[in-house]
């Protein structure tokens, strides 16, 4: 005879030791951010000034906005290297509109629509044709910026209307710039979408196992497509900001932003292999990168030397938890 044992009760969660919260990625980033902040305050007498701190945020807000969407994309197991090129193309289109006499609202609309369009183009290539995104976006990266070059050649667009300057140069209140406010609001929205909605849950699941997701009724391609569109959209928004901040457009605008945005995402603890990460981490990483570059800038350290710090920071922050864990497990020979 078969004895049927009573079903075992499975708890929802095990009580985690406090240490696991203390050693979380975000906690590590907070510690680093505070440390850099403290070092900066000591190293330069100019650092602790509201206007300095406000200027500091311009070092990361635009890239940070892109990084928010990029984080979702990377969590889902894809990547977009064409973001900076999208910024350039969107800016070029806005420039064309200015020549045709467009006002600020139209410009913003154009920036956003072009960004969305480019994102959708990437998304279509990746989801419809099943191509690897890293390769597709290496291609579109040249294509989008190439189109900007074809349109602009050696020219520049300028003459953006006064009212357009607000987006990249305006302040919402005292030292709080519009860019910073937008970044914080966007971060909140992205946090909510990724961590509190079923869409966000699906993004995580897709990054972990896209095939199983497809079998489970997750519309994998549709979600990936949306994520590419979002990344394009954020690039379009970043393009509005940067164009407004510079007050002009050249095809070489925003060069190298893609790697910086990805660095933010990875530094923020998003797994480049997909399936893991948090928006809080990305936001912290954006601030850290701003703190490092601005702090070193105050000491007149050349940008390239700063990049050594960023590179080291990236590797060390990622290596630290691994080394720490191994040390605890006594697995280091």
């Amino acid at each position: 005879m078969t004895d049927t044992p009573a079903p075992r009760h499975i708890p929802d969660r095990l009580d985690k030791p406090l240490s696991s919260a203390i050693f979380s990625w975000e906690a590590l980033l907070v510690v680093i951010a505070v440390a850099i902040f403290a070092i900066n305050s000591f190293a330069s007498p100019y650092f602790l000034d509201p206007w300095s701190l406000s200027d500091l945020t311009f070092n990361f807000t635009e890239k940070g906005l892109i990084a928010l969407a990029m984080a979702l994309l990377i969590i889902s197991g894809e990547i977009d290297l064409s973001v900076a090129a999208i910024v350039a193309l969107a800016s070029t289109m806005m420039g064309m509109a200015v020549q045709a006499g467009a006002g600020a609202p139209v410009l913003v609309l154009i920036g956003i629509v072009v960004g969305l369009g480019c994102g959708a183009f990437n998304g279509l290539l990746v989801t419809r044709l099943g191509l690897p995104s890293i390769v597709v976006t290496i291609g579109t990266m040249s294509l989008f910026r190439g189109i900007a070059f074809i349109i602009l050649g050696d020219q520049a667009y300028k003459g953006y209307p006064e009212s357009f300057a607000f987006f990249g140069q305006g302040y919402v209140w005292w030292v709080f710039s519009f860019e910073l406010a937008l970044f914080l609001v966007a971060a909140l929205i992205y946090w909510f979408v990724l961590h509190r909605t079923s869409f966000g849950r699906r993004v995580f699941a897709i990054g972990s196992n896209p095939v199983a997701c497809q079998f489970s009724g997750v519309r994998v391609d549709r979600i990936k497509f949306i994520l590419f569109c979002l990344t394009g959209l954020m690039s379009g928004i970043a393009s509005v900001l940067i164009t407004s901040r510079l007050g002009s457009t050249r095809p070489s605008i925003a060069q190298g932003y893609e790697l910086e945005a990805i660095t933010m995402v990875v530094l923020g603890g998003v797994s480049i292999l997909g399936g893991a990460g948090s928006i809080l981490g990305v936001v912290l990483a954006a601030f850290i990168m701003g703190l490092v570059t601005f702090g070193l800038g105050l000491l007149n350290v050349p940008g390239i030397v700063m990049s050594i710090f960023i590179g080291l920071l990236l590797i060390i922050v990622i290596a630290l938890p691994i080394v720490w864990r191994r040390l605890r497990e006594g697995r280091f020979a």
């Binding site: 330069s44 100019y46 650092f47 000034d49 206007w51 300095s52 200027d55 500091l56 311009f58 070092n59 070059f149 050649g153 050696d154 520049a156 300028k158 300057a165 990249g168 140069q169 940067i242 901040r245 510079l246 007050g247 002009s248 050249r250 095809p251 070489s252 605008i253 925003a254 060069q255 190298g256 570059t293 601005f294 800038g297 105050l298 007149n300 050349p302 940008g303 390239i304 990049s307």
Partner: protein, 310 residues
Amino acid sequence: AYAENVKIALVVKSLGNGFFDAANKGAEEAAKELGDVDVIYTGPTKATAEAQIEVINSLIAQKVNAIAVSANDADALVPVLKKAMDRGITVISWDSGVAKEGRQLHLNPSDTNLIGETIIKLAADYLPEGGDVAILSASSTATNQNAWIEAAKKVLPEKFPKIKLVATVYGDDDSAKSTDEAKGLLKSYPNLKAIIAPTTVGVVAAAQVVTDENLIGKVNVTGLALPSEFKKFIDNGASQAVALWNPIDLGYSAIYLAHDLAVKKEEAKPGATLSIGRVGKVTLDDTNSAAMAPPFQFDKTNIEKFSKIY
């Protein structure tokens, strides 16, 4: 004494460029002469406007007294430089200028039209029969290069009717791209007699290509070059002559002017004549621009001497 010193930032297009390093020498010289000046020599490593803006932002935060900038983009820097001026910082541009609203004055190394004419003349002098020439420029967005090329095109028909400008290409101040472009020119225009490169990176790349392809004597490379970097190609005959102004004097003048404006010794307004120490005097035109000195020509006779200086 520290607090009273005038802090002047010499912001260059990109660090590491020999031309700007030479300018910094002049800046230090001016600082010593003026006595109460601290020079901050800085700039991005990558010649982009965005990187330059970050540098300028940190200078604003440091509350420098003056910024003297050689711009990567004439327009993109305007908002941040305006911000600097709003916060009481004296802003001038030198070498590669900023649009009028973004600075108090601009110091051209030389007269734009004069440079445009000189780069053509350098080629024409060695082409008594006339012939095809091409221009290899830096990036398509470089303000000063574009202005010179414009000026060159203007003088061509009247002053050098036998010289035919067949193409203008861009090497982006990247030696690999400049090399590709120079090769392309030689292939596309077999009758090419001269390559004019008004950029120190491009001119070296073009001269190396001409050397490699055994075209010395057939194609003359000319343009703007630092004697120290270019001596080799004058020596081997790939180039007959190149021109440049004195970057040391340029750096010197930039600091001198920035200082005088910052301490309110002088005021920048159209028509004003400003003194720049040992270099002499300049007069501002109606866009508050001034030209320092005519370009100086280097050839076999003097390259040895100047290559030791800059």
